[in-house]
């Protein structure tokens, strides 16, 4: 409410003690009078508006908090996890969840909770890496296509179409097979190489419309080169859509990683990844329900939260939307 008070029209008078009679004789632009009295409306930048809209989006905000908590657990797995992911306890094979092993243990007596935490770390690392890499690839390709247009646009967009028509899973499986022994980095590169297309299309569309803007022409008249115009003048206007798309890409990447690992083509054991944990759990039979349930639920929660955050960002970063959603 304190923020509101500056908008309150009843407050738009001189503060107590100010000599109102001097007002007409003050030099300069009368609109600057408000400054002298410290009464100016605190104008918000686009980012302040976006932040505000995001904060009002409860689902997105809640999702972001849950997501940060889950990723935080993964990031600090070595401090939080009670055991390491490969520590074998022959006295506790295939145990159901208990106070000692809250997610139970697997057939080798490894603590499932610890393995899930490390799995989150692996999956998150892959997801974020893919998000960053595919955003960079997509932004460069889409940006060049949109800025230059003509045959460059044609070439790059047909390339994008080509990647879109590839049967994703088949290509991933074959590639994973040939690349062999998957490390998180290798897997991330492979995924990023295949899913940059949606970002490229978004950036291209945005650049196509931006390059016709007068301020881009003004920048050109000021002597800015192509690269400078693209990076300094156009990219900041595209940050919104890029951020949304990048967020959603992280979710997609985590799902794909899980699918690949589940099929046995992803991260090599013993490094735990959420999909790999599912795969292992499934091998050990459905009566060991805890081995599939926990990693599965975590995957679902992570991806769901990412999508909600993406939704919230989309609403928050849309400048045409002034309405603040509950």
């Amino acid at each position: 409410m304190t923020e509101r008070s500056v908008h309150d029209p009843t407050l738009a008078v001189a503060p107590p003690g100010a000599d109102v009679s001097v007002q007409p004789s003050l030099p300069g632009d009368p609109s600057e009078l408000t400054y002298q009295y410290g009464l100016e409306v605190q104008a918000r930048s686009q980012w302040a508006y976006a932040r505000r809209r995001f904060m009002r989006h409860r689902l997105a905000l809640g999702s972001l908090i849950i997501l940060l908590a889950i990723f935080g657990c993964g990031l600090f797995a070595n401090f939080i996890a009670p055991y390491t992911y490969r520590q074998i306890n022959l006295q506790a094979l295939s145990q159901a969840p208990s106070a000692k092993h809250i997610f139970g243990t697997d057939s080798a007596g490894r603590d499932s909770f610890s393995r899930v935490l490390y799995g989150i770390r692996t999956s998150a690392r892959v997801g974020v890496l893919v998000g960053v890499l595919s955003t960079v690839i997509g932004t460069i390709i889409g940006g060049l296509a949109g800025f230059y247009g003509g045959w460059i646009d044609n070439l790059l967009m047909r390339l994008t179409d080509l990647f879109l028509t590839l049967p994703l899973l088949a290509v991933l499986l074959v590639a994973a097979k040939y690349l062999g022994h998957s490390t998180p980095l290798k897997l991330a590169l492979l995924l990023a190489f295949l899913i940059w297309t949606s970002i490229a299309r978004i950036v291209r569309g945005s650049f196509l419309s931006l390059r016709e803007k007068e301020y881009v022409e003004a920048a050109r008249a000021a002597g800015a080169g192509d690269l400078r115009i693209m990076i300094r003048h156009m990219l900041p206007n595209t940050v919104g859509p890029i951020v949304v798309a990048a967020t959603l890409t992280i979710g997609t990447a985590i799902l794909l990683e899980a699918v690949l690992s589940f099929l046995g083509f992803g991260i090599e054991p013993p490094t735990p990844a959420l999909g790999a944990l599912l795969n292992e759990g499934q091998d050990q039979g459905l009566d060991k329900w805890w081995l599939v349930t926990f990693p599965g639920v975590i995957i679902v929660v992570i991806v769901l939260c990412i999508n909600f955050v993406g939704d919230g960002l989309r609403d928050a970063l849309d400048p045409t939307q002034r309405r603040i959603r509950a």
Binding site: G28, D29, S31, E32, Y35, A43, S45, Q46, K213, E214, Y215, E217, A218, A219, R220, A221, A222, G223, A224, G225, R228, R232, H233, P236, N237, V239
Partner: protein, 343 residues
């Protein structure tokens, strides 16, 4: 007379459109001398903007095409410069103020940053503190109140007049020797126009830049310009000192333009427009492009068949492209009340 700073010779610019080739600029020539203000007047589509945009390489090519001509600036032909060399001229030695300050500033970047960008584009070695200081000084110079606060604000927090001031600050940031103001006041309301004129004058005094003022507002010309180029259908039809042109216009188009202005204290009930429409630049009329609308022509064969060339009338600095310019002898233009004369 000193050597001209910029001389444009026989410039022809075409645009390829679906309906055919449009000759937007058709063989124009003029000079710009150091420190002077040259006004370019004409209707929409007369080639005012295109003639200056094209010498800076700012028209999209294609569909635009510079067919021939030269633009000598400090001994170099701008039309023959490489893209890179031309970029070094733009915004540095020749800067532009655009028409609509509402759309010519980038909405997501702070004003100070945008002014800084104009500087850093040409002086990448300057450190950020110096650039910011300069942006602040420039805002102060163009009369933006509270520059310390304003420098960190976004364009949407500026009013139209303030934005145009910021645009002028950006244009003079690198102390250009030529300042091109393309309809700098058209998008502003009248009271703000007068203020912006003052700022332009001040900016010019500060940088000693020669200014090309493109406008269709004769009041603005009367107020600011030293010399005037009148353009019609991509051609220069009259050229001369501002006092000469206003006192004794020697082209029927110029006369028509002045007649069509409302006058203070006049008791006319109606404005007197120039009859007809500006010609299509795809199929321009043969002979003098103005003859179908001209009160002097009246079906004279020469106007229809022979294209008039610019020729000196009276003194050598006053040129007109009319076969019968002498018939306008004794005709006076109306003294236009300059915008902001009382400001």
């Amino acid at each position: 007379m000193p050597d001209p700073l910029l001389s444009i010779r026989d410039l022809v610019v075409e645009f390829n459109t679906e309906d055919g080739i449009v000759q937007a600029v058709d063989g124009i020539s003029y000079d710009l001398f150091p420190g002077e203000t040259l006004g370019i007047v004409g209707e929409s589509g007369s080639g005012k903007s295109v003639s200056t945009m094209s010498i800076l390489g700012l028209i999209p090519q294609p569909p635009g095409r510079i067919v021939r001509g030269e633009a000598l600036f400090k001994g170099k032909d701008l039309l023959k410069l490489s893209k890179k060399a031309l970029r070094r001229v733009r915004g540095n030695e020749m800067a532009m103020v655009f028409q609509d300050p509402m759309t010519s500033l980038n909405p997501v970047l702070k004003i100070g940053y945008q002014i800084g960008e104009a500087i850093k584009t040409h002086r990448p070695d300057q450190n950020n503190a110096a650039v910011k200081k300069r942006a602040l000084d420039l805002l102060k110079l163009v009369g933006v109140p509270n520059p310390e606060r304003r420098v960190d604000q976004y364009p949407h927090e500026f009013s139209g007049g303030m934005r145009q001031r910021a645009m002028i600050a950006m244009a003079i940031a690198n102390e250009p020797s030529v300042l091109i103001a393309d309809e700098p006041t058209t998008a502003l309301d009248v009271t703000i126009q007068a203020q912006i004129l003052e700022v332009l004058k001040k900016a010019q005094e500060e940088t000693h830049a020669a200014t090309i003022l493109i406008t269709h507002d004769l009041g603005l010309i009367a107020e600011l310009a030293d010399r005037v180029v009148v353009m019609y259908a991509g051609k220069v039809v009259e050229l001369g000192d501002v006092s000469t042109i206003f006192a004794s216009p020697r082209h029927p188009y110029t006369v028509g333009l002045m007649d069509s202005l409302p006058r203070l204290g006049g008791d006319d009930d109606w404005l007197r427009p120039i009859p007809g429409q500006p010609p299509s630049l795809i199929s321009r009329p043969p002979g003098c492009p103005f003859h179908p609308r001209c009160f002097l022509s009246q079906g004279r064969v020469r106007c229809r068949e022979e294209e008039p060339l610019l020729r000196p009338i009276g003194d050598s600095a006053h040129l007109s492209a009319c076969h019968f310019a002498e018939e306008l002898e004794g005709r006076t233009g109306h003294l236009v009340e300059p915008v902001g004369a009382e400001a």
